[in-house]
């Protein structure tokens, strides 16, 4: 097995992605993009049409949550498809995001005890968790 790779651009690093990288990325995007696009469409529809006074408003406003189940499944499958090092990185970064989200929700919970209830607290928790997760993933991938 000493024949050089035909698409090698540099003997040291070469292409940024291996076949396994491309396969995993393509499979992930094929599952993730339809779900996230559906989410944004439903979110736009709901935000523009929801009538808080109607009986079905609570159900209607929860509609964008459905495609997020697809996003969660895409993430789960990405972890399953990742190789052993990729899985370690993904899970470590998810753990950081999870921890940050837990700390944020705990802080909001304690603020709630003294009557400081934030209407958009859930979004804050989501934002902190997602930012920590994707940020740590970016930092790990840069190395």
């Amino acid at each position: 097995m000493t024949n050089a790779h035909s698409t090698t651009s540099s003997p040291n690093r070469g292409p940024r992605l291996s076949a396994a990288d491309k396969h995993q990325r393509d499979r992930y995007l094929r599952e993730f993009i339809p779900a996230i696009v559906t989410f944004w469409i439903l979110l736009a529809v709901v935000l523009n049409t929801v009538d808080e006074q109607t009986y079905g408003a609570r159900l209607w406003v929860l509609l964008p949550v459905l495609p997020m189940i697809g996003v969660a499944v895409a993430l789960y499958r990405a972890v399953q498809r990742a190789d052993e090092y990729g899985r370690v990185v993904l899970l470590e970064c998810m753990a950081l995001g999870f921890g940050a989200a837990m700390v944020a929700s705990l802080a909001l919970g304690f603020l709630g005890i003294i009557g400081e209830a934030w209407t958009f607290g859930g979004w804050l928790v989501l934002g902190i968790g997602m930012t920590t997760w994707t940020g740590s993933l970016l930092v790990r991938n840069l190395r």
């Binding site: 050089a4 790779h5 090698t8 651009s9 540099s10 003997p11 040291n12 292409p15 291996s18």
Partner: protein, 71 residues
């Protein structure tokens, strides 16, 4: 764990991506292995040994810290 992966890969004229293709892993994994940031599982270590036509012991050298039993 110290290893000779980078030297052996360079000797073969392979890119990290090509070695990753041979092993069925990501290029990041190869990079992490070469820089010692990640020690492979036993199956991956055997695949590495097969790709370089050598033994695991030839590829990897445990450091004193690796050999020290946990207190």
């Amino acid at each position: 764990m110290e290893n000779s992966l980078r030297v052996r890969r360079a000797a073969n004229g392979w890119s990290q991506a090509h070695l990753a293709d041979l092993l069925g892993v990501s290029r990041q994994t190869v990079n992490a292995l070469e820089t010692g940031r990640y020690d492979p599982s036993l199956p991956l270590a055997f695949r590495l040994a097969r790709v370089f036509a050598t033994t695991i012991e030839d590829l990897f050298t445990p450091t004193d810290r690796d050999l020290r039993s946990p207190a």
